[in-house]
């Protein structure tokens, strides 16, 4: 056992070393951390009430009083941006957690047991993959009803097949390794073999995919909210802010510029981080 676990800390520090030398991954991580910090600190930051209307300050351009301007109800755009980051990040992370929580076990089972189990799970995955991600999410959100929670469920469910396919593929390449054969030889059951020996070894590519899928999920949540199928007013989200902003494009362009820039930056951050993680975890690049 100890021989199997010993290399782990060295591998972790090597990966960490590679990641910290990758400038673009660091930039990505910084952007992500800044947005997460802003989202978490929203209640204590000295900003205006994101839902507080002010009829005397309707559609005011950016100024010292309102750094990002105000919207069509006189609400502070900066405050709505910071609170909106919560919805976006929450949607990104929760929907990916849903996708991982369902997709990884099915992928593990399909890859590990093979045979009929694998055939059935793989066919279902193929069928799910045939339905484009966003259309699937829109249809599900429509059938479940518009709300942030349902948008997260819809996006999460739509991303499940990606994780089933990825995990299955990884398990297939790992399950013939000597340490798995060894674990089987000492009489371990299927569940301990899958969770203790296979899962940790297929985890790195899942982590990379999860990071990149958070980026996709954030765009998907913004898209659903933009269409009116996600976060409902007056609670702010970047997508719903853009939805309103499109009606005031020529009069108040700042209403559209900031939420889009927020989505762009945070998605770019997750993409850079995901790419960096992929390079750091790729054994071929050692």
């Amino acid at each position: 056992m100890s021989a199997l676990t010993d290399p782990q800390p060295r591998a972790t520090s090597r990966i960490w070393g590679k990641l910290s030398r990758n400038k673009s991954a660091l930039v990505g991580a910084t952007v992500v951390i800044v947005f997460i910090a802003l989202a978490l600190l929203a209640p204590v930051l000295p900003i205006a009430d994101p839902t507080g209307t002010d009829w005397g300050a309707i559609r005011k351009p950016p100024s010292v009083a309102a750094w990002m301007g105000t919207d069509e109800l006189g609400r502070d755009v900066l405050a709505r941006m910071i609170w909106g980051a919560r919805a976006s990040l929450l949607a990104g992370v929760v929907s990916v957690l849903i996708a991982v929580a369902i997709g990884v076990p099915f992928g593990l089972i399909a890859g590990y047991f093979g045979g009929w189990t694998d055939s059935i799970i793989s066919r279902v995955t193929e069928a799910l993959l045939a339905m484009p991600f966003l259309i699937m999410a829109i249809a599900l959100a429509a059938f479940l009803g518009p709300s942030l929670t349902n948008a997260m469920i819809a996006i999460g469910l739509s991303a499940v097949p990606i994780f089933i396919r990825l995990t299955r593929g990884q398990v297939l390449s790992v399950k013939t390794e000597d340490y798995v054969e060894g674990a089987r030889a000492i009489g371990l059951g299927h569940v301990p073999i899958m969770t203790r020996y296979i899962l940790p070894n297929v985890f790195p590519p899942i982590l990379v995919q999860a990071t990149l899928t958070i980026a996709t999920a954030i765009i998907a949540e913004a898209a659903l909210s933009f269409l009116g199928l996600g976060q409902q007013p007056p609670a702010p989200s970047w997508g719903s802010m853009l939805n309103t902003a499109k009606n005031f494009l020529s009069q108040a362009p700042w209403m559209a510029i900031w939420p889009g820039a927020g989505i762009f930056l945070v998605v770019m951050g997750f993409n850079l981080l995901g790419d960096g993680l992929r390079d750091a975890l790729d054994p071929r690049e050692h």
């Binding site: 339905m131 259309i135 249809a139 599900l140 429509a142 059938f143 479940l144 933009f226 762009f264 770019m268």
Partner: protein, 315 residues
């Protein structure tokens, strides 16, 4: 070859059946009873009983599915609850608009993505590579509906160069059709260009290190000939497959682009249907997109086979 295509079609059948089951199941996700919605305000028990009979709601669920699937096979996707039009003819009337948008976007993507990918691979590690990668990553990170809004703001509102919305069939007025579609096509094409660029780059990087490319260089062939004739021809295979597969993404991306530029296509149809609670249309659109995706997958496989001499002779 024919055998290969037949085999691929046979493999696609179970996928299609499963897709149809999912689409059918979507209806069952609906909160509440659709029959009560159809029965209107009065909810006359006789009408409800009649509707239940008509839509076979009293049958076991498997029979309901078979009945529905039988209709789908005969081209009957139900009728729109709002307009009472058959869903199939609704989709057929909107599809050409989206196909025009998709083809124009794909042209943008190919003309930007492939040359950028080749250049970035040939000049690996230089500022050209760095810049191309940065632009590609931005293309992948930018929400296309926001890019659309920003372009409308810049090109239509401030500069007044192109119309911000509308649609004209190319068969009626080609010039107008192209001017209204060029901006949405660019918006939809950017993310695809980014994906194509990244794949072309990585395929080219793999091929540029191959022995036959080194041999071609050693023979003293010009750089451009080596890159285009020897390397790109071999790198293009995965790119062709990807291009076919990206058409599915295009259909999905069109949903928001059409919404922004108010283009009366397939994407706008599903959004309008969602808001009108026109579930038969939503189901129809999801089913058609999935079938389209499976067909494109099939085409991608066949193209791969046709273009790859090694696989062709293996057959």
């Amino acid at each position: 070859m024919l055998l290969f295509i037949l085999r691929r079609i046979l493999i696609a059948i179970p996928t299609l059946i499963l897709v149809s089951m999912f689409v059918f199941a979507l209806q069952k996700l609906l909160p509440g009873d659709p029959i009560l919605v159809m029965a209107g305000e009065d909810r006359d028990p006789e009408v409800i009983a009649l509707l239940r009979e008509k839509y076979r709601m009293n049958d076991p669920i498997m029979m309901q599915y078979l009945y529905w699937a039988g209709g789908v096979l005969r081209g009957d996707l139900g009728v729109s609850l709002r307009t009472n039009e058959p869903v199939l003819s609704l989709i057929a009337s909107k599809l050409p608009v989206t196909i025009q948008l998709a083809v124009m976007s794909m042209l943008f993507a190919l003309f930007i993505g492939i040359p950028a990918g080749i250049l970035s691979a040939v000049r690996k590690g230089t500022w050209v590579d760095w810049l191309a990668n940065l632009v590609a990553l931005s293309g992948l990170s930018i929400p296309n509906f926001w890019l659309g809004l920003m372009l409308i703001l810049l090109v239509s509102v401030n500069l007044g160069w192109l119309p911000a919305s509308g649609y004209e069939s190319p068969f009626v007025d080609l010039k107008k059709s192209l001017t209204t579609m060029i901006m949405p096509a660019f918006v939809l094409g950017t993310a695809l260009a980014a994906t194509l660029m990244r794949h072309t780059r990585s395929a080219m990087l793999g091929v540029l290190q191959a022995d036959y490319v080194r041999t071609a260089r050693a023979k003293g062939l010009r750089g451009r000939v080596v890159v285009m004739k020897h390397a790109f021809r071999n790198a293009v295979l995965p790119v062709v497959t990807l291009t076919a597969l990206l058409f599915g993404e295009l259909l999905a991306g069109a949903v928001l682009t059409e919404q922004i530029f108010t283009i009366p296509g397939f994407g706008k149809l599903i959004v309008d249907a969602v808001f009108n609670r026109d579930y038969a249309v939503v189901q129809g659109v999801v089913l058609c997109t999935a079938v389209g995706f499976i067909v494109m997958n099939l085409i991608a496989d066949v193209l791969y086979m046709l273009l790859n001499p090694r696989l062709r002779t293996a057959q």
